[in-house]
């Protein structure tokens, strides 16, 4: 039915906005590293890149999907939790396997930060912290 009667309530309200942050570490290492934003947007994007993205925009669309996963997870962890957690872990692992993220440890954890406007300006709240996952050496093509 949602296919026949879609909701067209685009941007009816501006909800708190998710950021996925990840941590790569080794427990035996004293320096545990720090949380880093997963796929932060570039400082600037040339018009030529914007034009190219009209035809081929996989990373951006995937990043929007990850944001949807984060929102679904917070909205209904029971229904969407397992799927969203698996999707987010899979994408971070994929980026590590393909050298897009530097593997600074064998253990991976992510958290979901939500930014919203409050009385005194923008505030960031951590609403979810994943379990720690040990990274297995994998063939990059399978991720």
């Amino acid at each position: 039915m949602p296919a026949l009667i879609p909701s067209w309530r685009f941007f009816d309200s501006i909800a708190p906005s998710p950021r996925v942050e990840y941590l790569l570490f080794d427990p035996q290492n004293e320096n545990l590293g720090s949380w880093a934003e997963y796929r932060p947007r570039p400082e600037r994007l040339p018009v030529w890149s914007m034009l190219k993205r009209m035809l081929y925009n996989p990373i951006r669309n995937e990043t929007l999907f990850i944001a949807s996963c984060a929102e679904r997870l917070i909205k209904n962890e029971q229904e969407y939790g397992a799927h969203s957690i698996a999707e987010i872990f899979a994408r971070i692992e994929h980026d590590i396997a393909h050298g897009l993220l530097k593997q600074e440890g064998q253990y991976l954890q992510f958290r979901l930060a939500f930014i919203s406007r409050q009385k005194h300006g923008l505030e960031k709240h951590i609403l979810f912290v994943s379990e720690i996952k040990k990274l297995e050496p994998k063939d990059a093509s399978t991720l």
Partner: protein, 226 residues
């Protein structure tokens, strides 16, 4: 525009839009790759004009598997519009007579009108949109701006207030464009420009292509009544 021409144009545009979307998934894991490779093949069959009904039924099936794979839409509204077009095209092809074919394809045109009007309505009833604050927030902290540099727009409240009212006003008066074919052409050009701006500023390229796919339906629809 005749209904046959409008349907054929929609099939060709939908096929291209689906191929464009699907190519973006070919670097992903095997299960995802297989699903989207199937969609590319079926889209090519749809565009060829051979076995059209079977291609459409196959595409509906693949779309349901894609929904299951991602536990919902992969790209929100653009997936919803893609599926709606697909279902309307399928129903138009399997319709027992011209009357039901008109109903199925006309329904797509009605939903296109609603996609603009409802978007405008939910904004005008929200004080945050009326004050321009909502658009400021979109630029200030949401995940949508494609670069950090674009966040400077959040500090231009007067510009965003004007832009907010332009968007709200256009979306609400869009149905009136049906009164004259020239007005409809102008409205569709403005709407496409709006989607193009969203694609450039927020990276929503899929919305641009998929909404364009529904335009032949409204061009045919307008000719039926006015």
């Amino acid at each position: 525009m005749t209904i046959d021409l409008a349907i054929r144009l929609t099939e060709l545009m939908q096929g291209l839009a689906f191929i464009q979307q699907s190519i973006e998934h070919l670097h992903r894991p095997r299960d995802e790759k297989i699903l989207f490779a199937c969609r590319i093949v079926l889209s090519a069959i749809l565009m060829s004009g051979l076995l059209t009904t079977w291609a459409l039924v196959g595409l509906v099936g693949v779309s349901l598997f894609i929904l299951k794979r991602f536990n919902g839409p992969y790209n929100g509204g653009s997936d919803r519009m893609g599926l709606l077009i697909l279902v309307c095209l399928t129903l138009a092809h399997i319709a027992p007579n011209a009357f039901w074919q008109n109903i199925a394809f006309g329904y797509l045109a009605v939903q296109l009108i609603l996609s603009y009007f409802i978007s405008g309505w939910v904004k005008i009833v929200n004080v945050e949109w009326r004050s321009g604050r909502a658009l400021q927030d979109v630029f200030a902290y949401t995940t949508y701006p494609v670069s950090e540099h674009l966040r400077v727009f959040a500090d231009k409240p007067k510009l965003l207030l004007i832009m907010s009212w332009c968007v709200i006003g256009f979306e609400l008066i869009f149905p009136l464009a049906l009164l004259h074919i020239h007005a409809l052409y102008i409205a569709l050009i403005i709407a496409a420009t709006f989607h193009l701006a969203n694609a450039f500023l927020f990276g929503l390229n899929r919305f641009f292509w998929i909404w364009l796919c529904a335009y032949p339906s409204i061009l045919w629809f307008q000719g039926q009544f006015i």
